[in-house]
């Protein structure tokens, strides 16, 4: 099924790219989205089955694939609005959609990859494809961010590959002749702990550029800043999920061994450092998209803490990842609308949004309630569970330090958001030129409602999927 989907996606993307026909550019992405949703449902019905020797529909990949399907629909919608407002040519529109469809295909391949080498190839493919979209506005800043993203991610992914080579060596010592995750998990207790430690460090460092985690988080921040808002939404959510999944696959292997506590300590350190860096950078930030990017760094740090805490933390980490994806995507879609009013992302230029666009303002307010993990946000539930896991598993100092840092982050973000919403409208702003259809905000309300609903009253199949995804860790 996946091979058919990949072939279908490549053909559709090529047709969009080559034909550059207005009607086809409208129809083909819709066909692609339908196919992606069909794949997600197919994966749900065929859960725990192999699709080929390289792919498998496991619980985590099914969950993340559904997140990708949902966010693909909203991202295509906001991309359509973005392209319409920028009055781009059919040629530019075709290039944009073709690159976006190929990016989604590469991410789908990464989610379902059962073979670590195939996962690596898919991650590298996402880097190359997203660079086209980051550079879309062709500004000097876009060039800088694209170069940094492409180069640092390539070097990072090369280091992750070294880790995979070491993993293959120690697996080879135990008679394993493929890089299938399930086979590696089965022989993990027999592997050399030193090589596994080196593997994990290299993979964590390498894929931290994709996950937006310390130490290679800076390139993702720059990419968020310059990419079109719908693409920023993708980089900050589904693409970060790719990075998480790549690290999680190796984590599930090392979790079967005696070095698990060492690995968890590494994750706790990385988590705390990520949140610390986010706290420091947020004090200096003067650009809304950069502020959201550093907020993503903070949230990925919290996810790392969940894995590092263990037990209940595993469940909470995946919950947090999903809720963060929906909330952060809403924020980036909304900042795209804010830009239509102020023609700027700089904090000093943007204020009084509630007066200008009450529905959009309400959406911003809800987004911030959600992203700051204030009840009834689902992120409150996941963060609460992560802190519970930290206290229960005897990491009270980590919990207290992180709580202190989060207090500073909440204050900083709240200060900027109150400025955005309730300060006076800048003098000289051309109010008559402001037109954003209130219906454009529906997607944000739907995503935020999902975060609240899944947090307060999660359906059984949803919690079952998360529990199954982490069953190999417990």
């Amino acid at each position: 099924m996946l091979m058919i989907f990949f072939a279908f996606s490549i053909i559709i993307s090529l047709l969009t790219f080559l034909l550059k026909h207005k009607t086809l550019t409208n129809i083909l992405p819709k066909l692609f989205l339908s196919a992606h949703i069909a794949v997600s449902f197919w994966a749900l019905f065929k859960i725990n089955q192999f699709d080929s020797i390289y792919y498998k529909f496991d619980a985590l990949s099914v969950l993340l694939s559904f997140v990708l399907s949902i966010l693909s629909v909203t991202t295509f919608y906001h991309s359509y609005l973005y392209l319409k407002r920028h009055k781009v040519s059919v040629e530019q529109e075709s290039n944009y959609y073709a690159a976006l469809m190929m990016l989604i295909t590469a991410m789908t391949s990464a989610y379902f990859a059962e073979n670590i080498a195939v996962l690596w190839i898919s991650v590298e493919a996402t880097t190359l494809l997203v660079s086209i979209l980051i550079f879309y506005e062709h500004t000097e800043e876009a060039l800088e961010a694209t170069w940094k993203y492409l180069f640092i991610c390539s070097v990072g992914i090369a280091f992750a590959f070294i880790g995979i080579l070491f993993l293959s060596m120690t697996a080879g010592n135990n008679g394993i002749t493929s890089l299938s995750s399930s086979k590696l998990i089965a022989v993990a207790p027999l592997m050399n702990p030193l090589w596994l430690k080196i593997t994990f460090l290299l993979v964590l460092t390498g894929f931290s550029a994709k996950m937006g985690l310390f130490p290679l988080h800076t390139v993702a921040v720059d990419a968020h800043t310059v990419a079109p808002p719908p693409i920023s939404a993708f980089i900050s959510t589904t693409l970060m999920n790719v990075g998480f999944l790549a690290i999680f696959r190796i984590f599930t292997i090392v979790a079967q061994t005696e070095i698990i506590h060492w690995v968890q300590n590494v994750l706790l350190i990385v988590g705390v450092l990520s949140i610390f860096m986010a706290t420091i950078q947020l004090q200096r930030v003067n650009h809304f998209k950069r502020m959201f990017a550093f907020s993503s760094l903070e949230h990925m740090g919290i996810v790392a803490l969940g894995l590092g805490a263990g037990g209940l933390g595993y469940y909470a980490a995946i919950l947090h990842l999903i809720f963060h994806a929906f909330t952060k995507a809403s924020l980036f879609y909304q900042i795209g609308q804010v830009y239509q009013f102020f023609k700027s992302y700089w904090i000093k230029d943007v204020s009084g949004y509630f007066k200008l666009n009450p529905i959009g303002g309400l959406s911003v307010l809800l987004c911030f309630v959600s992203i700051l993990a204030v009840p009834p946000s689902g992120l409150f539930v996941s963060e609460f569970l992560i802190f519970k896991a930290l206290f229960v598993n005897e990491h009270p100092i980590v919990a207290v330090v992180v709580l202190a840092l989060l207090s500073v982050i909440i204050y900083t973000i709240l200060k900027n958001i109150l400025h955005l919403l309730f300060d006076d409208v800048p003098t000289g702003l051309k109010v008559d030129a402001l037109k954003v259809n209130p219906y454009e905000t529906i997607s944000q309300f739907v995503l935020l409602s999902l975060v609240i609903y899944l947090g307060i009253n999660p359906p059984i199949f949803f919690t079952d999927l998360i529990n199954e995804a982490i069953s190999v860790l417990n």
Binding site: N115, A117, V118, W120, I121, E124, A125, T127, L128, S131, F135, E140, E141, L143, E144, A145, T146, W147, K148, L150, F151, S154, V155, A158, F161, I162, L165, F166, S168, M169, T170, A171, G172, N173, I176, T177, S178, L179, N192, L194, W195, D222, T225, V226, Q281, R284, V285, N286, H287, R290
Partner: protein, 209 residues
């Protein structure tokens, strides 16, 4: 015979440290491609036709011919001749290569795994660390890509050192991925050169808080 190739590879690394001309960097990369072919060809006891074609494709076609040809085009497009004032003088860079080589040798003896080929590991590790060092000491994007390719060559040697178990199709896909990466990086160097009239890294520092 493989020892000869390993020594030759180490010499290319020292030449990288010595050189200041971008043209020489491209030549050295092409020579490394040839050496890698020699290393693989002479280290395999039995070689079937598919493996041979793959190795030929990876080392001779891609690493020795296509990538250097493409880098030369990029170099000419941006009128790059000499790498001005690297952050670290050449003399110190030579000392650094030697130190990395010694540390790699000690490390490979310390790790000494039954599955691992110690000599390959030494030179592979040296190449990877030196590639990182090369990126750090140079001030232009072209040299950064050269550093990235030195790391990639080191990883190629490392896969031999650890007796990689990846099937040929996966290897081929990885090669294509890296190849595409270099092409896209090269295209972006041209774009940076056209926009800023220079490919120095100092032009790429606008994005900050």
């Amino acid at each position: 015979m493989t020892y000869l190739f390993i020594i030759l590879y180490a010499i290319t690394l020292i030449y990288f440290a010595l050189s200041e001309r971008t043209k020489k960097f491209v030549w050295l990369l092409a020579i490394q491609g040839l050496i890698l072919f020699g290393v693989v060809f002479f280290s395999l006891n039995k070689i079937d036709i598919f493996d041979f074609i793959f190795i030929l494709l990876e080392t001779i076609v891609v690493k020795t011919l296509v990538v250097p040809w493409f880098l030369n085009k990029v170099r000419k497009h941006n009128q790059l001749k000499r790498e001005h004032e690297p952050y670290v003088p050449v003399f110190y860079s030579i000392i650094v290569v030697v130190i990395i080589l010694i540390i790699s040798f000690m490390l490979s003896n310390y790790l000494n795994d039954s599955q691992m080929h110690t000599q390959y590991f030494t030179i592979a590790f040296t190449s990877i660390i030196f590639g990182g060092y090369f990126i750090m000491i140079h001030k232009n994007l072209f040299s950064n890509v050269v550093g990235y390719l030195i790391i990639e060559n080191g990883i190629f040697l490392l896969s031999l050192a650890v007796g990689s178990i990846m099937p040929i199709m996966v290897n081929l896909a990885i090669l294509l991925d890296v190849f595409m990466g270099v092409l896209i990086l090269g295209l972006f160097i041209n774009r940076v050169g056209d926009t800023f009239k220079s490919v120095k890294t100092e032009h790429l520092s606008k994005l900050k808080d």
